[in-house]
Symmetry: C2
Subunit: 382 residues, 2 copies
């Protein structure tokens, strides 16, 4: 099965799914299969194992649940933080506000450290906050899709381990898993939460969360009951363990077809001709090409410096004198769908198949489309 | 695209997805599409409108969210019941215990009325309970998949309206929507919650809940904050309204491909050659054929009487002297996957495409397979 020609809806679109390979779509059309079937259990088991490997962990516990990335916030808020406990949210864009909102819904006391727009939170500020108050968790958005700012999660984890070693480090990695390197064990990350539709190249509908054994222990030592039902690790932990042992178990029906699709994508990522290390390098190279080409014609990156630029997406201010309506409709006519951002910018993703499979020509196409659209916009103003 | 031959994994399998048509699977393999795309919004809007029509409602509010049917319990428990309020759970099988567990997780005081195994809760018992205490909601499982008992939700709603008109009537219809008639407005049902993978003939991963305007009003008049984030109607209500107006809005990423698949299935159900009324009749006929054939060879229905037998599934006690291991492996060899039930029974579904499209021959196949398997089991014991 080969996909019909279609808009590159996701190469420079945000928020939204990225391009999906034919193999993954074909797997998503798997004939109906019971989630209790002995044929399905090892497929789910493989997904659990490959997800752990993808994050360079030996023993962290993946949770694969029908839902969007947002459900990961609920899982953290309701399983790891007890009502009245403190959470520190590092703010590098819009998604930190939402995570804070979620934590407060489940009763956490939330403090935020807000970076300036286009910046990441400074280590010295994190250190001061951790010294002033005891926090159960620190959350950091690896790549905030509103700003394309890449936070240095290894450095954040380092500060936390040094100043407040009991505090759990939670990474919102919705827009970074499989396009940015994440070494859970070596860096001391306790939770990585993400979704299927970005760097993992699978249709949306799967919440993917991986918890360190330390985090699982904190969950198990709660003194109050878990405050969610659907996202309760008390319910899901035995299910995930059963499937990892290649036997089926039931709490709530998993999204069977999406699990087949995720399996196809993980197999391409973990066992394909391009290694994981090479995949990260290709994302860096594609990102630099896109950003350089855009800057040459007058766009300017939202991130304040090169070292905090995401490699799987870009957020770009328009050249002086141009606004969203000058550019976006013209890109659309060239089959490239982008989204307007805050702060007079556009935002777009360049990750997954579009980056790894250069024969698709997606990156060249998007660069040409941006150049041509700006040229047309200039011409129309003369 | 036509599916490869495969086991009838769902005709008599429980819990699990039912057979899915080629058109629905093809839609599930739709190329990647942003949920913010103007092409996608009206597809989502159609799904909202058709879901409402399917339940014979003029103005009830559908919520279509990435998740399993279980997420519907969380939505009810966290949006409609405030901590400390009373909920009455009518118990006709396993799933009532779980719904009660969910309600208690979010702080409700739960009372249960338990029917005997194979029975439905009696109206007189409901009336007594409603007179003894004020309940915010009454929940009833339309078809409990552990017993195949069909509850008379019209009668339940009648009692509630008569004795305690403020109390909301919540129907867990995971195993009944599109195989049993549900008239929300005429019968006075306030919430119908279900999932994509049963009578709606779509792969699993979509939580489908429809709330009456009365229920929405109760939600809006809460005096305490909603106790979930991912399932909060405060977040989702504006999103559903936007999509129904054919414009995109963002809270959490919808399962785009599943929405395409759901659209394909709803279109077949609501606009296909078989009317909705005829669909229910076909389910009744297929159900009677299956149950009659099984009873002729010694199986016995778990439901205590004919008037409370589900039309979309069967739960059958084994003939005297036979156990699960005599029958289930033999059915599997004939490409029919079934599940063992509680109480020395097997349980299976007969709904959707298998019932409506008689040219598939699924029902005949399952009847023959059951007959042959029992005959083989008998022969092996002689």
């Amino acid at each position: 099965m080969v996909q019909a020609p279609h808009n590159l809806s996701c190469v420079l679109s945000i928020p939204g799914p990225i391009e999906v390979t034919d193999e993954v779509l074909f797997a998503n059309a798997h004939p109906s299969m019971s989630h209790m079937s002995p044929d399905f259990a090892p497929v789910f088991g493989d997904c659990i194992r490959m997800t752990r490997q993808l994050l360079y962990s030996k023993d962290a516990q993946p949770f694969l649940i029908a839902g969007s990335g947002t459900l990961g916030w609920d899982q953290v808020s309701a399983n790891l933080v007890e009502p009245g406990e403190n959470a520190l949210v590092l703010h590098s864009g819009y998604f930190a506000d939402s995570f804070a909102d979620c934590l407060e819904t489940y009763g956490a006391n939330v403090d935020q450290i807000k970076a300036e727009i286009g910046g990441a939170v400074k280590e010295a500020d994190i250190e001061s906050a951790l010294k002033a108050k005891k926090y159960k968790i620190v959350t950091v958005t690896h790549v905030d899709t509103s700003t394309a700012v890449l936070s240095d999660i290894k450095a954040v984890a380092n500060v936390v381990k040094r100043v407040s070693p009991d505090t759990l480090v939670v990474v919102d990695a919705v827009c970074s898993v499989a396009s940015e390197e994440i070494q859970m064990d070596a860096w001391g990350i306790d939770v990585v939460l993400t979704a299927s539709q970005k760097g993992l190249g699978t249709p949306p509908g799967l919440s993917i969360l991986v918890a360190s054994q330390k985090a699982v222990q904190v969950f198990e030592n709660r003194s109050t009951p878990v405050t969610t039902y659907y996202g309760s690790w008390k319910k899901w932990l035995p299910i995930m363990k059963a499937y990892e042992n290649n036997s089926a178990a039931y709490f709530a029906t998993p999204p069977v077809n999406l699990i087949y699709a995720f399996h196809a994508s993980l197999t391409q990522i973990m066992q394909g001709s391009v290694s994981l290390e090479q995949r990260f390098k290709l994302h860096q190279e594609a990102s630099q090409r896109v950003k350089k080409a855009a800057e040459e014609i007058g766009f300017k990156g939202v991130p304040l410096s090169e070292d905090i630029q995401a490699n799987g997406m870009s957020a770009l201010y328009f050249p002086d004198g141009f606004v969203a309506s000058d550019i976006i409709p013209r890109l659309l006519k060239k089959d490239v769908v982008v989204a307007g951002g805050l702060h007079a910018s556009i935002k777009g993703q360049h990750m997954g198949a579009s980056v790894v499979d250069s024969s698709r020509g997606d990156i060249d196409k998007i660069i040409s489309a941006v150049k041509e659209s700006l040229a047309e916009a200039k011409a129309s103003k003369q």
